[in-house]
Symmetry: C2
Amino acid sequence: MTQKKTRLRVIPLGGLGEIGKNMTVLEYGNDMVVIDAGIMFPDDDHPGVDLILPDYSYIVHRRDKLRAIMITHGHEDHTGALPYLLKEVGAGVPVLGTKLTLGLVTGKLEEHRIKKPKLREIREGGHVNIGPFGFDFIPVNHSIPDGVALFIRTPVGNILHTGDFKFDQTPIDGRLTDYGALAAAGKKGVRLLMSDSTNAETAGITNSEATVGAALREIFATAEQRIIVASFASHIHRVQQVCDAAVAVGRKVVVTGRSMINNTKIARQLGYLTISEDNLVDAYEMGDLPPERVVVLSTGSQGEPLSALARMANHDHRTVTIEAGDTVVISATPIPGNEKAVSRVINRLSKAGATIVHKGTAPVHVSGHAAAEELKLMLNLIKPAAFVPIHGESRHLKAHADLAKLTGVPDENVFIMDIGDCLEITEGSVRIAERVESGVVYVDGLSVGDIGQVIIRDRQLLARDGLATIIIAIDQQDGRPIGEPELVMRGISLGGDDSAFMDEARQRVAKTLAKTAREGATDHAVIKNAVRESLSQFMWERTRSRPMIVPVVMEV
Amino acid sequence: MTQKKTRLRVIPLGGLGEIGKNMTVLEYGNDMVVIDAGIMFPDDDHPGVDLILPDYSYIVHRRDKLRAIMITHGHEDHTGALPYLLKEVGAGVPVLGTKLTLGLVTGKLEEHRIKKPKLREIREGGHVNIGPFGFDFIPVNHSIPDGVALFIRTPVGNILHTGDFKFDQTPIDGRLTDYGALAAAGKKGVRLLMSDSTNAETAGITNSEATVGAALREIFATAEQRIIVASFASHIHRVQQVCDAAVAVGRKVVVTGRSMINNTKIARQLGYLTISEDNLVDAYEMGDLPPERVVVLSTGSQGEPLSALARMANHDHRTVTIEAGDTVVISATPIPGNEKAVSRVINRLSKAGATIVHKGTAPVHVSGHAAAEELKLMLNLIKPAAFVPIHGESRHLKAHADLAKLTGVPDENVFIMDIGDCLEITEGSVRIAERVESGVVYVDGLSVGDIGQVIIRDRQLLARDGLATIIIAIDQQDGRPIGEPELVMRGISLGGDDSAFMDEARQRVAKTLAKTAREGATDHAVIKNAVRESLSQFMWERTRSRPMIVPVVMEV
């Protein structure tokens, strides 16, 4: 499996044609480095699935070559697969990231009981050599502190991987995306730019995080009762701004929701979040404060049914009850697919009489990703010979590719890749080579990777039309049916009288059995097929639906 | 069931706390009129359900009193339940609407084989007396032509029902919302205003439909290959603008998708859509034209998987194949819950190399509903004594109620109602009276109303964790289990080796059966419960999921 020493292989295993599970492999000769190890959260098309991982078999099969895993920032779609991957490749593989990124990763690895992971802190502006690769870490703005882009020196030339980024001219922590370092990289020459495509369809620029602070201060200044702000727990700058706005109007901050409590704790410990102990109040002591002296900082901005905000909306939160006149700020945007869930929570809060402020009614959220003008700026700073848009659905990759062409990257050097595609870079050429094994791995309960498309498809069918089990007892001596077939249905809507329907269905099956018996069929598969067909036909005639039919033959 | 002759009852049976299935009952003494009869399209929470109807039992049980059904405009969420309702109350009940509204309803009733419906055309500016009610029809702008608001004279005072509306200062057909008639209604005195809340959260005004035409012309002027525009088939003004923009640049229009073909045909016949025969080309003749001479007008703006646009995206449309360089305009906005489906289609089209233009990238869509400033204008024109926000989710109703208070409607006269609430108006008072029977009716295949919450819940459970059927043969003489229990599973993810898992599960059940036998249990219910519990426990231990367990006991 040793690769020729003259070519670099760049293999995205996730994050293309989707938002989520980012993961890219760099491979040169006997050395391999992985950039990011993210998960994706399943949507309604994946009933019962807890998490989706990239299929990283390609890495596992080459684990001897794996020198390090680089994490660009601490979001789940860049870190969430790390525990699963480390279980396969061994906890001895070094994981590199900035301080906050590793702080957030540590908790995750502990939950999964990964013993003694080799976490290696990197410093922005710093440099690390790993095998044939040299990595420079360039600070970038994003919706979590401490994000970095990677400038990667390889034997066949330089690569720039942006991670997730935006250009914020007034960042909360004063830490700008490093224009100088990017320009210097561009000057050294970059053969390949891989850049964040999330907002490639959005014209102009993404507003500064600081604009949210101004909006929050305005809302806090006039709210008369309790204020509840829901946001992403990892968005420490947003949390900081909520805290600052609260303190400015003399309100105490109550933190609720498990991940919000964990993340604010880690961020305060590591120095990324500043609020005095005095201004933080435990949820259980909130009752002592009048509503106009409180800001509740909560999880649940995505409408998650078990989150703190959803519990408040459903009146089953332990310490917060929404009352008419309360103000709820949704300081986030629904991730595609979560719109309905978020709306459901907003509706319940509205019904309880709360005033809801969200992105649609006030500037209480900005994106963490660069919009079109910023993407062009990145392209112009780097001036890459070749370009691969990453981190986006097909629509975003296409839009980003078009931007790259506008800035002068030659058409033939813009590659819209699929997961599992391999970009091969040699001294003289950049081209798409053969595909590698790749895909998705579903995590469902304790099972990782056992659930496949068949099960997902079964669940979708079950959800749509239900299931009918038909049980036939057969004499093991002569193969003749004994007694009446038994019919059990779940999730099927009958067009009227149930028992008459069931009788008729059983008669239809009995008739089919009599026929197969006359024809001398004793093979169970033949009998099952005949029964399945006749019952399916009956169901269609009577209900215009096609439930899953499961025939069971019991020999007795 | 005769109501006292001194009170008017206003009962919304749908459209509150939801977008869809609009229906309101007016009842006075022995007379009843229904306003609108809409459906709602199910979301992912209703697997396998085709349509959702309002539960109109209240009307059916009082069908002798029903004098007429008024339809404010031709959208499905105002007309779709009409065939189902007429089947219950009889086709002899007059249905009143404007010309286009009835034109669209006619086709729907024919599909359902409703014989000889009594369709009565109303003219805007006209007047009809029905029992104790007098109806004036006031033209309003909306995303379908020919919409009306209703000014209703009743023995206890006047009501204004806006239907769905906006104030468009430059409507495509020159037909303005009738400010004069609304102001005159306000002057006569309106005891109750019921007004469209869809965009109550949106500040400012909704842009004119004419702005879309300008955007389309700009896109059409520069597109180099084929142009495909997807929109709502009922949005005749949008269709008109697409046709006009196409003709202006010398392109022919190809209409595709069943509802688009039907609706443009009806609209042309009735004089609502103007395009010469010469500029329309049959889909099968499109091949004769170069791509730069064609605009395809298509259904599928909601990402419907079987629509014309989705077929094009999936490369299985009969006459249109998307090619790199084609331009696809999504001239619509996703209805909440459809975002993912729309995005899926956009992604596929992007992957095929098409340039996608949508609301997020160019002003190619405007809403058909009034935004906050327009809603306040309506409130100020009508100056109602009491106000009920209609047509909206809870968040929209709350926002609209707040707007009403801002314009001076007294707090105590603003009623946020639930479906089935009854607003009782007498000479001297307006109040919420007792609730009436109400709710939802699911249509699934041929079944109307047979599918209930239990089936929906079953389907959700099946989708999440799958189903295990465990079959136990029992000797009918002594009640002892015979042979091995049979286990059939669907949609369940096992944590490893299937056959070992199945063996273990069967052993666990066999043990339970031995135990119940020792305890002398012969009651099938007892045996089933014991088996269900032990298998459920086993599944949880091994997979951390809770599939539905269906035990079947067969006596042989």
